[in-house]
């Protein structure tokens, strides 16, 4: 059995409203689809157990048209691809003796006084999140 990696997402809230944050096993990742020039949605096996309508995390990033060169992908100006590639690097990063809690993106910026972020905040390209869990 492969060790599991758990992917954490949090919107720009205070984790005090339904779906402000969510965590999925990386093995439940079904795929990602570009939704617009500024968004990519990552789909997961639904948490309701039905296995039908996927749960989604819609990530917003810079417009591909204005992102002339991001320098991180052979696709040059395709930030869609950059976000997908970095997500997959995080999702498949599980190795023996490493942390299996992976922050893909945490936009919660309301941190306690005198404390920094308690762990990584994730992909720098992502500027907004929307989590859909039915």
């Amino acid at each position: 059995m492969k060790a599991e990696n758990y992917l954490y997402f949090a919107v720009d809230g205070d984790n005090d409203t339904d779906k402000d944050c969510a965590m999925f096993p990386a093995s439940n990742f079904r795929g990602a689809v570009t939704m617009s020039s500024t968004t990519v949605e990552f789909f997961f096996t639904p948490q309701d157990g039905t296995g039908t309508t996927a749960n989604g995390v819609l990530m917003t990033h810079a417009d591909i048209a204005s992102n002339v060169t991001d320098g991180s992908s052979p696709y040059g100006n395709d930030v869609h691809y950059t976000v997908m590639e970095k997500f997959c690097q995080l999702a498949s990063a599980n190795r023996a003796n490493t942390n299996n809690f992976t922050v893909v993106k945490d936009l919660n910026g309301n941190l306690p006084a005198n404390e920094g972020a308690i762990s990584a905040t994730g992909l720098s390209e992502v500027t907004a999140l929307a989590i859909t869990i039915d």
């Binding site: 949090a10 984790n15 409203t17 944050c21 969510a22 096993p25 997961f44 157990g49 869990i133």
Partner: protein
Amino acid sequence: MGETFVTLIKDANEKFCGPASNFLGLKCDGAGSMKLRFEDVDGSAAATVIDITVTDTGGHGTEMKRVCQVIANAMQGYGIQGKFVKIADTLAGKFIHADILSVDAVA
């Protein structure tokens, strides 16, 4: 690698034990409230849902993130032996992290 089994206990009548590989995910359900879901054990199409309460003293939600982290860590494999982890036991007052306060429902 051996399987990791996790347990959450609300009271004498409501308990859950299942393999970590059946974990479907979790979500914030409101301030200090989280829902964990596992593939159902009775063969029905609905997930087993476990409600837990976590600390939210500062109103910044970082405790919830910490709890997500410890749950992920608890579910991690443990070599060929596997392991059994009690994440939360409200009945006995035992929790794997101080920010987990109670198990409120197992359904």
